[in-house]
């Protein structure tokens, strides 16, 4: 595995009191689809802009295929960017926009013509060459932006929330298309987004950021199933948090005194927070006989029911008053519960993750 982008100890401070990116170290593998995920203001866009050369780091090293270019201006870097607003040149037509980068690099005119035509065809915009950006729909503008960047055969393609301005249906279609294009051209994509679902479905790996720190890097599964801290668990998907302490036998004692099994390596006596995804919780009638002894069991009462169509959410109050959400798929074999039902919830011993609080 060669590192396409190797980031070492990169910090960006604006003025004296704003640290947008704080000592980030990260390797992005050649050919992977890597997402930087986090809420707005977490530093992900600043990180991307530093790779693009639109900002210079305060400290640290950014290498692309072994070449140090932390301080190199954007026009001298082998990367291209798809901007959030697309940044299509409004006074140039589609063809001129796509040709811009090649022209700047003084590529032979005939070659430009051919490559531009190929790029436009690749994003299914044939016949639109002479249109101005203002005459295109949002999705079409997005494709032009993509073609304009890809036509330069960059070593790394940077995408700054490129689907943010599109409506849901179009966004989903473009997600698939982007993924296809990426596997076709085999270029490393670095994708900035605040949409966790988008990051989960598209990426090979995800880096989660908050307050300028890179909190966790991993595959979508790792990030979702084994979050390293409360922020990551909360930001990706939905989850329940249950406070507890590690008992001597390694189980977790939660408020109310019940003992449950969970994953994690916190030492005995440590305060922890359990994170437990709603879809991993099963609901049984109180006193049901067929409960799997290998699963954690907690008694509770249904206090709320929300009907979502494809699923149903139940809010369950545990004996100590802790509220937990459980999600049931809306299939006939699962029994419907009503508010007020006395129930027992169960979850697998590997389902909950004990995070050191």
């Amino acid at each position: 595995m060669t590192a396409a982008v190797s980031i070492r100890g990169v910090t960006k401070r604006f003025g004296t009191d704003v640290t947008a990116v704080d000592n980030v170290t990260l390797d992005i593998v050649d050919g992977e689809f890597f997402s930087l995920l986090g809420p707005s203001g977490c530093g992900k866009t600043t990180m991307l802009r530093m790779i693009a050369g639109l900002e210079f780091p305060t400290e640290g090293s950014i290498q692309i295929f072994g070449e140090e270019l932390a301080l190199r201006p954007p026009n001298k870097r082998p990367v291209n960017t798809v901007f959030q607003s697309y940044a299509l040149f409004p006074h140039m037509n589609v063809e001129k926009n796509v040709a811009f980068g090649l022209e700047m690099r003084k590529v032979d005119k005939a070659v430009i013509k051919e490559q531009v035509a190929d790029a436009i065809e690749a994003v299914h915009l044939k016949g639109m060459e002479k249109r101005k950006p203002s005459q295109l729909s949002g999705g079409q503008q997005q494709r032009v932006a993509l073609a304009r960047a890809l036509v330069n055969r960059p070593k790394v393609l940077l995408l700054d929330e490129p689907l943010g301005a599109l409506d849901l249906k179009l966004r989903q279609a473009m997600q698939i298309e982007l993924k296809d294009i990426q596997s076709e051209v085999g270029i490393t994509f670095i994708y900035v987004t605040h949409d966790q679902e988008e990051a989960l479905t598209m990426s090979n790996r995800i880096g989660v950021m908050n307050f300028g720190n890179l909190l966790q890097v991993g595959t979508p599964e790792e990030i979702y199933e084994r979050p390293v801290n409360r922020f990551v668990a909360d930001f990706i998907g939905e989850t329940n948090f249950i406070d507890g302490t590690v008992a001597d036998d390694g189980r977790i004692r939660i408020a109310g005194g019940a003992l449950v099994y969970a994953r994690g390596d916190a030492p005995a006596g440590a305060d922890v927070t359990l994170t437990l995804r709603p879809e991993k919780i099963w609901i049984h009638s109180r006193g049901a006989a067929d409960l799997d002894p290998e699963r954690n069991q907690l008694p509770g009462k249904i206090t709320r029911r929300l009907y979502y169509g494809e699923s149903i959410y139940y809010e369950i109050e545990l004996e100590d008053g802790t509220l937990v959400d459980a999600r049931h798929e809306n299939i006939p074999s699962l029994q419907r519960r009503d508010v007020g039902d006395e129930v027992t919830i169960t979850f697998h011993r590997q389902a909950a993750e004990a995070l050191v609080s």
């Binding site: 210079f56 305060t58 400290e59 090293s61 140090e68 270019l69 932390a70 301080l71 190199r72 201006p73």
Partner: protein, 298 residues
């Protein structure tokens, strides 16, 4: 500065980041430099010099004598004659601003609330034409109207309401109003046109009658236009020269003519300088008060 044009292959550190920021900052400085120098030489320094000159003695030809200083010209501002010129100018400028606002607001409101965009644009062009038209020519038009053979005079004589107005204070006032009304209307129009009418509807929904909604919502929200328009009318009215000269004659001297007189026939440049600084000061004070008051009362 040259660093960025090479192909640096160093890691970043705060020193290099500062260097890059400095290079960028110098680039901004050099972009502004030609204009900066021009304004220093042909605006800032002249402004300082005119203030200095207002303390200089006067030679026999009326020019300032550098090196001999006096407070006479500033003391002279207290003369009853000078004071009356200053007061008349400020009063007329104030009155003109007020009347322009009273006439201009319903006018701008009317244009901005026409239903058809085509009609709005057409009316706007009708305002733009006098706005851009030569000021001298527009003032001259009134000179002929107000003269003995002028249409306005004839109408006045026929109805017995007024006589020949040329070379009187009302004529000057009429000229100022005519000259600067478009300066009031355009910013007002822009402010009213940009209004979010949902807010007015919300006020109506919350039991405000049409008048209350106007006073409580529309008027305060068009404040930026009122301020901009008032300043645009007040400043040139205060320094008016062409209008009082053509329509007022010798009887209604305003600050503008009075200053020009000092430099031309009056032969007292240092006193002219003191008056010029005074008019600038009045304008600054008025602008600041207006901004402050506007912020509180509206």
């Amino acid at each position: 500065m040259t660093m960025l044009d090479e192909r640096p292959s160093e890691e970043a550190n705060p020193e290099l980041e500062r260097k890059a920021e400095r290079a960028e900052s110098w680039r901004g400085f050099f972009t502004a430099l030609p204009t900066y120098l021009y304004l220093v030489v042909f605006f800032v320094l002249p402004l300082i010099i005119i203030t200095v000159i207002s303390f200089a003695e006067r030679s026999r030809t009326g020019k300032p004598v550098l090196g001999e200083w006096t407070l006479d010209w500033w003391i002279k501002l207290g003369d009853p004659l000078v004071r009356s010129v200053v007061f008349r100018s400020v009063w007329l400028a104030f009155l003109n601003t007020l009347l322009s606002l009273l006439l201009g607001y319903p006018f701008a409101y009317w244009i901005a609330t026409r239903k058809s965009a085509l009609m709005r644009n057409f009316l706007l062009v009708l305002v733009l034409i006098p706005f851009w038209s030569n000021f001298l020519v527009r003032t001259y038009a009134w000179r002929t109207l107000l003269d003995s053979n002028g249409l306005v005079t004839k109408v006045g004589e026929m109805t017995g309401l007024w006589g020949k107005m040329l070379f009187t204070e009302p004529a000057v006032f009429l000229g100022l109003l005519y000259g600067y009304l478009p300066f009031m209307v355009l910013p007002l129009y822009a402010a009213i046109e940009h209004l979010d009418w949902n807010l007015v509807e919300a006020a109506r929904d919350l039991y405000a009658d049409a008048r209350k909604a106007f006073i409580k919502v529309t008027l305060p929200l068009s404040k930026p236009g009122i301020i901009a328009g008032s300043i645009l009318v007040f400043i040139p009215s205060l320094g008016a020269y062409v209008t009082p000269d053509l329509l007022g004659g010798s009887k209604t001297t305003l600050l503008g003519n009075y200053i020009v007189t000092q430099f031309k026939s009056g032969r007292n440049w240092p006193f002219g300088a003191a008056l010029s600084v005074t008019i600038l000061a009045i304008m600054m004070v008025a602008t600041i008060i207006y901004f402050r008051k506007g912020g509180k009362t509206l």
